[in-house]
Amino acid sequence: MLSMKNISKVFKTDLVETHALRDFNLEVKEGEFVAVTGPSGSGKTTFLNIAGLLEGFTHGDYFLDGVNISNLSDNKSATIRNEKIGFIFQGFNLIPDLNLAENVEVPLRYRGFNSAERKRRVQHALEQVGLAARMKHLPSQLSGGQQQRVAIARALAGEPRFLLADEPTGNLDSMMARQVMELLEEINRAGTTIIMVTHDAELARRAQRNIQIVDGQVCDFTMYQHGAVADKPHLVAGDKRAVEPSSVEAEEATS
């Protein structure tokens, strides 16, 4: 589904070169729910941007759904984003001047769907998140959790192959966060691959797989399957540090 091999991303200014990602390797299989964690400045957002074709990378190979992403034109990238990827942003990123239905409709318009098809998909997506009755409301008339559910509906409306969620619960209280997480799990169970960037260790543990990025590299690689911690974590491609398995288990035990 998603394959990154030796991806590097270097930001250059006149004085400084910053390596946001270096020799970054990751394979995500179809239907997986992967949580990406890491400290601030570790490269999580850069990884998310590259994975979502929001920005390019300096070196390496990236295949998404079998398509080589290197050197894609801007238009082609936009098409792939529109057709294959659903985005959920920390700040919801709803357009304040459009009502819920119009917000959910935005990517569908870029897809070129006719009015009837757009209407059907908007209705279905808002029903999935339980907000079909409020489709004429403006985002400002909703709570944070409801706004994020609208953003999820917008991401789902195009029936993408995978969802990229950037701190989807970062601006929500714990109850709202739990609701949103449950929704994401339900979407994943329905077959959509999800990659979620989060600071929240508890949320990360609910994902099937948990990777940690430190200094632009994948540091830890732990499988959570059927509630069990997998084998001893191991380094991936040039890693310098590993997280002790005991600390992961300890965190899980407290959750």
């Binding site: 957002t45 998310l48 941007n49 979502g52 074709l53 929001l54 920005e55 801007d74 238009n75 936009a78 098409t79 984003r81 529109n82 057709e83 985005f87 942003f89 920390q90 700040g91 990123n93 357009i95 001047d97 459009l98 009502n99 119009e102 409709e105 935005v106 990517p107 318009r109 870029y110 897809r111 070129g112 403006l138 917008r154 195009g158 950037d166």
Partner: protein, 403 residues
């Protein structure tokens, strides 16, 4: 792709900026449409053909204060002398000069019986000899020129033959042939004047009159102490003839004042100066208004780009191509421009009617508001496209930034 419905939703929920821009566009269209109409009216007035060879024909004034001068023979000698000068193509004494702003005019009576008699429109009255047509450079399209023996010397009431402009012939006799028609000059005698020729075009002296194209040339050599002389000469010889003509005429008799050498093209510039000034001022106003409107449009777009940076990034992340972002801003401003244009067009018509009643201007033609709106759409494209292209370059990665 067009997204008119969501763009309308956006506009309806953020009314202040668009309404201010709308008012600016309404006023611009109303003023620009009327100003353009007045400019084009003025230009059309200035472009009217006098029918003469304006760059070749000039006139001068000849004052003979010496009472011992026998005016008739002196004038004949003078005209012959001028015709013989190098560069001169022809010359003739005249009562008036086209486009000069001063001269003679009269109405006539036409009709064969008292019952059918009617007054004509006014016409400029030129007195001249058989050289007059060639001197003016007008085209004779029907009939003939005066014969030399037909030309009479003396006062206006002696006239027996006339050559008229096509416009005067049409106004006086409609579709009937003008050649052979008889007319009477009420103010200048009751002798019948027979029409023997029609010239295609000959304007009078007063560019603001309603009968500028009505002209009559009568077969009279007007003899007076003050005489106007028309000379047709090769282009570019005026400066040389300004010296040569007085020198030649003074050789015959020094007791004359000769002055006022002016090409008809120079008369044209002078008499149309106010029209030209009006057209220039209004043109500057139109340019200024369009510039202000385009700055308003560009400013509004730039403000919106600043305000919507994150939104643009989000749209790009959700699959908008660069052209979608550009078309978003174009369509948004086309909508404002069209709504403002249509209202402005209606205001323009209303304003035109007021100007028509107060200043006796012609009725505003609908093409002017329509062309103004189309011009404004073009202006909108130019004003919006550059900032919109800048907006299209906003990275979709903006969507994931927290600020």
């Amino acid at each position: 792709m067009l997204q008119i419905k969501p763009i309308l939703s956006t506009l309806m929920r953020n009314k202040s900026g668009p309404i201010l821009l709308l008012i600016q566009i309404i006023l611009s269209v109303a003023i620009v449409a009327n100003a353009s109409f007045i400019i084009s009216e003025r230009i059309a007035l200035m472009d009217r053909d006098s029918g003469t060879a304006e760059e070749e024909v000039f006139n001068f004034r000849l004052y003979s204060f010496d009472s011992s001068i026998e005016l008739e023979s002196q004038l004949q000698r003078d005209i012959r002398t001028i015709r013989d000068l190098p560069g001169v193509m022809d010359a003739s004494a005249t009562s008036m000069v086209p486009l000069s702003g001063g001269g003679w005019s009269s109405g006539y009576t036409v009709g064969n019986t008292e019952e059918t008699a009617k007054d004509t429109e006014s016409a400029a009255v030129y007195y001249g000899d058989e050289h007059m047509l060639n001197t003016l450079g007008v085209d004779l399209i029907e009939g003939r020129n005066f014969y030399e023996e037909e030309v009479l010397t003396g006062s206006p009431d002696l006239a027996t033959h006339g050559i008229v402009s096509k416009a005067f012939a049409k106004a006086s006799w409609g579709d009937e042939p003008a050649i052979g028609q008889i007319m009477y000059a009420g103010d200048f005698g009751d002798k019948p004047i027979q029409i023997i020729g029609v010239v295609d075009k000959l304007q009078g002296a007063w560019v603001n009159s309603s009968y500028l194209d009505n002209s009559v040339i009568l077969n009279i050599n007007l003899v007076n102490v003050f005489t106007k002389v028309l000379v047709r000469a090769e282009v570019g010889t005026l400066a040389q003839l300004k010296e040569a003509i007085p020198a030649a005429l003074h050789k015959d008799n020094r007791n004359r004042v000769i002055e006022g050498f002016t090409l008809i093209s120079e008369h044209r510039k002078r008499v149309y100066r106010n029209h030209e000034l009006m057209a220039t001022v209004l043109s500057m106003m139109v340019v200024l208004l369009l510039l202000i409107t385009s700055l308003g449009l560009a400013g509004m777009v730039m403000f919106n780009i600043e305000r919507r940076t994150k939104q643009i990034g989000t749209r790009r992340a959700l699959g908008a191509k660069k052209r979608d972002i550009i078309s978003f801003f174009l369509v948004e401003n086309y909508i404002i421009c069209l709504v403002g244009g249509v209202i402005g067009g209606l205001v323009a018509v209303q304003l035109g009617q007021q100007l028509m009643s107060v200043y006796s201007l012609p009725k505003l033609e609908p093409i002017y508001p329509i062309m103004t709106i189309m011009g404004l759409l073009l202006l909108t494209t130019v004003a919006v496209i550059l900032p919109a292209r800048k907006a299209a370059k906003i990275s979709p990665a903006i969507a994931t930034r927290s600020v």
